[in-house]
Every structure is written in C-alpha cells, then in structure tokens.
Point group: C2
Chain length 225, copies 2
C-alpha cells in the first residue's frame, strides 16, 4: 500500500535560472525558476505542507492526488510536460504531487496571498487562464466520476491520453493500472477487465500492458458517452 511512497527524492541542481526554457505555451516570464528532478514515485510536495511555489513540468509525468485517512486515494490529474500545477489559494497544499516516472520540473516562487502588484499583471493573467483550464478539466472529471460506468471511464481516459500525446492513436501509458484506477475511481482489477473488454470489442490493441493502440477511435468516442 505504502510501497508507492518515498522512493527516490533526488533534488537536483537548485540553481536559480531565468526562465527561457519554454516548454509549453504559458510562461510566468517574470518569475525566477529552480529546476528539480524527481525519481519514480518521489514526492514533489505533500498535502498539508506549506506551499509557496507553482511548478511546471519539463519532462516526465506528475500525479496530483488526495488521500482519505484509511488510504483510499483519488488522483485529480496527471500533468505532462508544459503543464503547470501546485496552485494554492492559501499557504498550504491541499493535495500531494508525485512523479509517476523520473521527472524534471521548474519551481517558481509564488505567494498566492501576495497583496499588491508584486507580480507582473501578465503573470497573474497567465495563471488565471491556467487555473480556469484546470477548473474545466475538473468539471469534466467530476462528470466522469459521478456518472460514467467503468467502460465509459476507461474509454474517456484513453482518448484523453491519446489527445495529449498528439492524437497518433498509438502511445505508451506512463502509469501503472493502480494509478489509472485511482484516477478513474475504480479498482485496478476493474481497469484490467475493461481493457480486456475494449480489446474484445476491437476498439484497442495492447502491444504490452502499457503500449496502447487505438484501433477504432470513433467507437471509443461513442462509448465514452
């Protein structure tokens, strides 16, 4: 259960550097970033910890999750290179973030409570745009968790991953079945069975457990509800 936590937290090269390594579209260009590396399953920040930074993924994949006291976990999002995460309204993290695979991020100092115009207006505008996009993703995911069945959830997940990987209909999943299950609100066994079902229906093929080939995208879209 806890084998997932605290493996290798390799915090590397805390060399402040001005931001010009543009990976995605948005860039808080007025902020100073610190590059950091994390090994597989390493914790980037934990729920309850004091915040003070926003993060941008340079390479790898990050999962943001919340835990119940008894260990049940819900992953709210996977973040791919170019995406930002870690926004908080107050001084504390209300979710935790971990590297799914070896991952590099840049941390930008950010005090959400900062009063006056200590930050450039453009940075704030960019962050607002990102936060609103995050809100939209969350609403979509609420619909998935609250109202879709297991097959619909997996179909939607595979389409989301495909789209974010470039819509080539052929991609590798960075995360294990357990993470997919915790993202989709299912058990890993059910996820596995739904993979089998999608295969039987001829909607997908699996080269290996992680290597996905979408055979019939239209069918997947129809069944993702």
């Amino acid at each position: 259960m806890l084998a997932q936590r605290a493996v290798t937290q390799i915090s590397e090269s805390p060399l402040p550097f001005a931001v010009n390594a543009k990976v995605g579209a948005m860039e808080p260009s007025a902020l100073i970033g610190v590059a950091m590396s994390f090994g597989r399953n390493a914790e980037i920040y934990a729920e309850g910890e004091t915040s003070g930074y926003v993060y941008k993924v340079l390479s790898g994949v990050v999962r943001v999750s919340k835990l119940l006291p008894d260990g049940r976990r819900q992953i709210s999002a996977f973040h791919l290179p170019g995406e930002m995460f870690g926004f908080e309204a107050d001084a504390f993290h209300h979710a935790s973030a971990e590297a799914v695979v070896p991952t590099k991020v840049v941390a930008f100092r950010w005090d959400g409570t900062l009063g006056a115009s200590r930050q450039s207006a453009n940075v704030v505008r960019e962050l607002l745009s990102l936060a609103v996009i995050g809100l939209r993703h969350a609403q979509d995911h609420l619909l998935l968790l609250g109202r879709k069945n297991a097959l619909e959830r997996l179909a939607a997940f595979l389409l989301e991953m495909d789209r974010r990987a470039g819509s080539e209909h052929f991609f590798d999943l960075a995360m294990p079945r357990h993470d997919i299950a915790d993202y989709l609100g299912l058990t890993l066994e059910t996820v596995s069975r739904m993979f089998a079902e999608l295969k039987e229906m001829g909607a997908i093929e699996l080269k290996s457990a992680r290597r996905v080939h979408l055979i019939n995208v239209a069918k997947l879209e129809a069944m993702s509800a």
Copy 2:
C-alpha cells in the same frame, strides 16, 4: 426528466450599475455589473453558449452542472450568495448554470481571452484567487465522487452545507433530493435511504425533508471519512 428545464426566466432590470453592493469578500471593483433575476429552475446559461460574463450570486442558490447525451447529470457545485461562477477559458460555457430557487445575480462583462491590460490587475488577481479556490473545491469533490461511499458522501454534503450556512447545525436545504443526488453521484432513492440511516444513527434529525438539524457533528465528521 426535462420538466426541470426552462420554467421562468425572468430577466429583470438590466440596468448597468457600478458595483458597490458588496455581498461577499471579493469584488471585481473595476467592472460594471448588470443585475438579473431568475425563477426556480430557470437557466442562467447553457453548455455550449457563448460566454463573456462572470456572475456573482446576490441571493438564492445556483447549480452548475454538465449533462451526458443520455441525460445523466453531474452538478459540480452549488453557489450561494457572495460567490462567483461562470469563469471560462475560451468563449464558450462548458457547463450550464440554473437557479435552484428564485435567485438574483450580477453579471460582469469579462472576456477571458482579453489580451493586454484591459482589465485592472486587481480584478485579475481576485479572479485568480477565486478560480484557485474553485479548483480546491473540485479536488475535494473528486475525492468524494471517486472514493467515498453513499453514507460518507451525504455526511460530507450536510457538513458542507452547514458550514456554508453559518455552522449553526440547523438549516434548510434549498435543493430537492434529485439535485443532491446529482451532486453526490447517487440516485435520489439512495440519498433518501442515507438520510434515513443518518437519522437512525442519531446523527441528524429532519423537521421536514428539507429542514436539517445536525445532532452529532463529531459523528458526522468521523463518518464523512
């Protein structure tokens, strides 16, 4: 099924007025607002419609929801007086908003895509703060929908409503069982059964179906997981 839609959309007094009717904490003080009234179940905006405004609740209750093609619905949030809703990253609404009870809102012109500094930096900062708070609520709700059982969901819902009503442990629910069910990802029958169970456990009392009295808050908190 559709009896819920399009009852009375009373759009009243579209008199632009400078914002000084402070209802909540945040106020986009540089924006001009238009007051509007909506009857029970009236649509404030629909999914797919062009956006261009953010809204603030003056009185009443608003539900924001998304629908699947077959009619399954997920309510992502209920908004009470003082709260803002309707943020969009692009020109379209990705969810719909309706009045749960007769409701007054103020609509503020807002073009999220507005490039340069057409809006005051403070307004943007306030909206960012609100969006991040919305993100946090969404994460909590994802955990509820993905990982909590029916009883835990209802307990958490009642505690949320109590807190937002002033934590007097005695309040009226503005919404019917059907809306609670669609917020909690359950059926209305299950919601009703869980109310009965909470009563049997001595955690709550119901003066009527909508009038809730929290008898044992500690027990509710323990069981909301």
